[in-house]
Assembly symmetry: C2
Homo-oligomer: 418 residues x 2
């Protein structure tokens, strides 16, 4: 599919993340305006509350878009999702008769504040990238036991904390935690010294379920995707994670990009999961190509300095698709809700330059990396700004995700001071 | 404190779980009435929406009780909690001038349907009973490695799934899951054959926080307590839990009792945590007695047969209080919300008759227990009804929790059939 032309001329460039082919959904505000739903098109945001109030769009419910979240629209189901996308495509296409009516409803992206696009109901993070799991397992358990025995049979996941999910641009405070080094007799309470990023994608569940669903049904239930940085305190994790998994190590924050790129926009970029070492059980088997060819990059900029590319990888490196993760999530009857967020797990490729965390890039701190500024990093330093970016590349256009950034603030001197 | 007398005469018995000293909060309906807030008193429920509409209670907000959850009231804070309890105590006390006005607002408990008392925002389950952790650890890792090295320093917990929390009386469907026995070459997908209960208490967070809070602040933020059965598929758990903890093993359901027993009602029953083997770090240190002396019992009734007591234990057997668990939960900056639910972890005592799970009672299935009916159990059988009960025993009265029951239905023949 080639670039689709829009009367919003900034959407017709090969470089914009938001051509007419994309139409990602977010929540924005300008000045004192209450946050509301918007659609990104080129360098502009279409104010969906205004479109709705002008009677240019009728999805059968009068107040869907004058809301600071997309949950209500997701809840209406895939037929409405398709109708909305079709109508937006029609309205914003070159030659549309709606152009004159819509022009006053466009807001420049660079004047808007972006907010969380959804209410995150519950958040689950997976561990479904083979290169990442192999790297981490090798560091923690040795090369022979790198992958746990279940890993090639189940998309391993754990429940995270929805309350800690924040939108791109939110500052991240270095956490305190209980730490115990290998040579310490007793643990101590101190700021995390091994704070890290994790380059992931997030899948947003757009349809509820109340029992086991198949991989095909799971794919249908996914509304769209975001970039996701699962900030991780490695030293807290190392001490706390046995036997019940990560808890406070992952509770400080998880950052997502503000624009939900719909499954429909990503349709031309579907790719298969990798070859299987063991055949998956029937309920987890691939039911078509359910990964996506999305180039991913993460950069680190020390305070006041230029950014260095830490890694370049691709979402197709995952071993399990989000649909397989969601299907597994429901096997025991777990009810899923509209607005549930599923982190893919860290997306690392086979090469060192493709590793999606500092834990892997610095091999647990043993091989610090050198930034373009000449500084080195084993883990994150105060003032570092991390930025993820992602793009599926089509014929003369790209489907971009917008920013997924966060700056690390120093730990509080006394976290209990009031 | 002795029994406080009420004009609701059924509340004046030494046997009622709901004397005037208790006043637990729930959500009920009768017939087609929409569910609304109520307070249990003896054999009756006081319809709080009716009380509010009659102008007998003014907490500063007009529509607090005509709601199917107590989240809004919790959100108002501890001063309102105290005012509400004081006013209810006054209105329902023997000799109250409000008796004539309130009598028509009483609904017999046995005619009411009870619902979830709160919207559970997020659910965290802990592993903070030392006898349970020692028993399970001994089975899984041997007696010498029973307690993980962190256990005596941190209240170990993991995030659970709020969507799976159900109210007492909800049937539980035996889940399917990916299973692999120690002698199997490959996993298979089958109904769980080692489905179990866990006898716990749940603490309900009534005040939000957005950074680390102290143990004292955490205690102040807790609104009340419920009984909690954390249904657990041991065979799913054994295969899935490394390295990131339990996931689908705990996702089928968690049952809570319908009445929130307030912290205020439990005040006379505060007890200290056990002696510490290691001094806790300052931020987790006991700041007064924050456990409670609550007798707990769990029974199992096979279909159509009388119930057998499986275990009798007490909440004071916990190593960590809910306040310490909540304080730990916030150490890394994790935001907590009104309506968060914290499971205590399985509450086992030192004796075999005090073990709060079949995993422990049957020692992993190696020592099946015999029920009063002559049947044996290693794990739960289809049709089994589990019932938890709890009571703090005062001078001529008790603070009861009401029922926490669930019946296990057989697994679906094909969980994907529609």
């Amino acid at each position: 599919m080639p670039l689709m032309k829009s009367w919003v001329t900034s959407a017709n460039s090969a470089d914009t993340p938001f051509p007419l082919n994309n139409l990602p959904y977010g929540v924005f505000s300008v000045g004192d305006m209450p946050p509301r739903c918007g659609v990104a098109i080129g360098a502009m945001i279409l104010d969906m509350a205004a479109v709705e109030q002008a009677g240019l769009l009728d999805l059968g419910d009068p107040d869907l878009f004058d809301m600071p979240f997309w949950n209500g629209i997701m809840d209406l189901g895939s037929e409405v999702w398709a109708n909305l996308r079709a109508r937006l495509t029609q309205m914003l296409a070159e030659g549309s008769t709606d152009q004159a009516a819509l022009e006053p409803m466009l807001v420049p992206l660079d004047q808007a504040e972006l907010h969380m696009p959804i209410i995150v109901e519950e958040y689950t993070d997976f561990y479904a990238g083979r290169h990442h799991a192999t790297n981490v397992g090798t560091m923690f358990r040795g090369a022979e036991n790198a992958l746990p025995p279940n890993w090639l049979h189940i998309p391993i996941g754990y429940n995270g904390r929805a309350s800690s999910v924040v939108v791109s641009g939110t500052d991240i405070r270095r956490p305190w935690g209980q730490l115990k080094g290998p040579n310490d007799d007793l643990p101590r309470f101190a700021p995390s010294a091994r704070f890290d990023l994790e380059l992931e994608m997030g899948a947003i569940v757009g349809q509820a379920s109340d029992g086991p669903i198949s991989v095909t049904e799971a794919d249908e239930a996914i509304f769209g995707y975001v970039l996701l940085n699962d900030w991780s305190a490695r030293d807290i994790q190392a001490w706390e994670y046995q036997p019940l998994g990560p808890f406070q190590a992952k509770a400080t924050a998880t950052t997502i990009s503000p624009w939900i790129v719909t499954k429909a926009a990503l349709e031309p970029f579907r790719v298969d999961t990798p070859a299987r070492e063991f055949e998956l059980l029937d309920h987890l088997k691939d039911a078509g190509p359910m990964l996506y060819d999305i180039d991913l990059t993460v950069t680190l900029a020390p305070r006041g300095k230029a950014a260095t590319v830490l890694a370049r990888t691709n979402y197709r490196e995952m071993y399990y698709s989000a649909a397989q993760q969601l299907a597994h999530h429901t096997t025991a009857g777990c009810p899923m809700n509209v607005g549930d967020l599923l982190g893919s797990g860290t997306i690392s490729g086979p090469e060192k330059s493709q590793r999606g965390s500092l834990l892997e890039l610095s091999w647990g701190g043993k091989e610090p990396i050198t930034l373009d500024s000449g500084e080195t990093r084993s883990f994150l330093e105060d003032g570092d700004t991390l930025a993820l970016s992602g793009a599926a590349r089509g014929d003369g256009y790209q489907i971009g995700f917008g920013p997924c950034t966060g700056t690390l603030l120093p730990a509080l001197a006394d976290p209990y001071a009031r």
